[in-house]
């Protein structure tokens, strides 16, 4: 009961005081107001969870106050106190959004019980809201990751295709330059113009090359954030997100993750994406009454995360294709065919491997092996420096 912010509104001061006093003894110290107007001004100053509101008051009536409260503070729950045999008021109040009503004379325990119920309702609503927000955020993140991945593939493809003609332009310009610098060409007219134009071609190629390298870099790197990841917690989060779907299909998700060390150094968001993809796939592949097991194993410098289902299994001829982009056995529009492709991309980026084992009718098991400590690989820039260093050493 503690922590409930309560407001008691009644024009009978004596009644109000007595109730307030007895409530304080039970651990709730209510705010008090003598009229509907006063009630609203209290609410304006401080947030309240539950209002206990007398219906019959001079000035603004309880019902009127109730309308105002529900309009301005829809999360606040209201319990009406009606006069004896005035059920009409109570019914009207509930229609207007009151949590419940009690007829006077009231019993304190009864009232406290109602207050607790109202408070529980608020908490449930809040929980639901939080969950909805969380889910929405996750879904957006998933969409963004998938989109990034396919964009990355496209970008890498484009960059690669452009690099080839760039190489041709570069060689051609280089060759012309070579000829122009020969002795027999030393005296040709307007040689400077040729030199200048060739320089510009080479500079242009350099510029385009920088762009394509960046595109290729984007395709590989993405923005990863490295942190300590509690795999058990991560699996819990993932299960929470897909738990409803699993429950709807009567599929049980079991965690066998009790190992001495369940934290690794990696990218938590990407890993969660991986787990979500695998668990969702497992749910879709499993008949109702089936079971999905998430296991964690530690071997030396690696950890293995295993997602195992008791589903229909994957036919042999499909096993090699499942990691390919746009391969899907779901009907068009249902599956993007990118899930496992993205998953593998992420796992590899995180320095790991993914393997699949499946038996028709007996289920499928995906095993991800990840390093306990992910070291940041040298990127293209880094390579560049290494090349430069190489050159300098050779020159020296």
């Amino acid at each position: 009961m503690e922590g409930i912010r309560l407001l008691l509104v009644d024009d009978e001061e004596e009644f109000r005081r007595t109730i307030a006093k007895r409530m304080t003894l039970r651990g709730i110290s209510p705010e008090q107001a003598g009229t509907g107007e006063e009630c609203l001004s209290v609410l304006e100053k401080k947030p309240v969870d539950v209002v206990v509101l007398d219906v019959k008051m001079p000035g603004m009536s309880g019902i009127e106050a109730l309308y105002h409260i529900k309009e301005k503070y829809p999360k606040t729950e209201v319990i009406l106190l009606t006069g004896h045999a005035a059920t009409q008021d109570g019914v009207e109040g509930i229609k207007a959004g009151a949590f419940d009503y009690l007829s006077k004379p009231i019993e304190l325990d009864h009232l406290l019980g109602k207050i607790k119920q109202a408070y529980d309702k608020i908490r449930r609503e809040e929980e639901k809201l939080r969950e909805a927000e969380f889910r929405e955020k996750m879904e957006q993140q998933m969409i963004a990751t998938e989109r990034l991945a396919s964009l990355g593939t496209l970008a890498a493809g484009v960059a690669h295709e452009i690099n080839n003609p760039l190489a041709i332009i570069k060689e051609s310009a280089g060759w012309m330059k070579l000829i122009l610098n020969k002795e027999e060409f030393a005296e040709i007219p307007r040689k400077q113009d040729f030199d200048m134009a060739l320089d510009k071609i080479e500079k242009g190629v350099e510029r385009a090359k920088r762009i394509t390298l960046k595109l290729l870099g984007f395709a590989r790197k993405g923005d990863s954030v490295l942190a300590e990841v509690d795999l058990k917690e991560l699996a819990g989060e993932a299960i929470q997100l897909v738990g409803r779907e699993a429950a709807n299909r009567e599929i049980e998700i079991v965690r066998k993750m009790d190992v001495p060390e369940n934290t690794i150094w990696s990218d938590p968001y990407q890993l969660r994406q991986v787990l979500l993809n695998l668990i969702t796939n497992a749910i879709h592949a499993t008949e109702s009454g089936g079971e999905i097991t998430i296991k964690l194993e530690v071997t030396g410098e690696n950890v293995a995360l295993i997602v195992q289902d008791t589903g229909q299994g994957i036919p042999k001829e499909n096993l090699e294709k499942i990691f390919e982009p746009f391969f899907s056995t779901k009907s068009p529009g249902e599956g993007t065919g990118l899930g496992l492709f993205v998953t593998r991309g992420i796992v590899e980026k995180l320095g790991g491997t993914i393997e699949v084992e499946s038996q028709l009718g007996n289920g499928t098991s995906f095993c991800i092996k990840l390093p306990k400590y992910l070291e940041v690989k040298e990127d293209l820039e880094g390579n560049h420096h290494a090349d430069l260093l190489d050159k300098i050493v050779k020159m020296g």
């Binding site: 690099n163 080839n164 570069k170 390298l213 050159k391």
Partner: protein
């Protein structure tokens, strides 16, 4: 100083690129042979003496890595420089593990290419020198003069 030409085999399915690069290398005094796929590359190696193969990684049919594996199996002394169009260093690393001398990212810098080519040529010369010496020792021993 008389330059001893390096016998280069250029392998890439991009015809225009191969042609232009070969013109440039020839202009520099190298002896250049062209191949447009992995199979052709291996056939040429069978017939001609080649010092350095410049090999594109991404080719239709037999790809660069397969070709490299085959070259190192059948002509282990021939040096290979890989051209990666991918921009991914992973393939390059794989190639080096398989015995390639070095790699270049496409579009490659010509100076880089010549430096790496010289390095490859030098390694091959030294290796051949060692083989010659070893053979001489072996022959001497066989004839009982040692």
């Amino acid at each position: 100083m008389i330059k001893i030409p390096t016998r280069v085999l250029l392998v890439d399915d991009e015809k225009d690129f191969v042609e232009m690069l070969s013109l440039r290398l020839k202009e520099m005094g190298e002896k250049v042979t062209l191949a447009y796929n992995g199979q052709e590359c291996l056939e040429i190696l069978e017939k001609e003496n080649i010092d350095v193969v410049i090999l594109d990684i991404k080719m239709p049919g037999m790809d660069g890595i397969e070709t490299l594996t085959e070259i190192k199996k059948r002509f282990p002394i021939v040096e290979v420089i890989m051209l990666t169009g991918h921009g991914t260093t992973e393939t390059a690393v794989e190639g080096m593990k398989l015995g390639a001398f070095d790699y270049l990212m496409k579009p490659a810098d010509f100076d880089d290419l010549t430096v790496k080519m010289e390095g490859a040529r030098k390694r091959k010369d030294e290796q051949e020198e060692r083989i010659r010496k070893a053979e001489a020792t072996f022959l001497l021993r066989k004839s009982g003069n040692i």
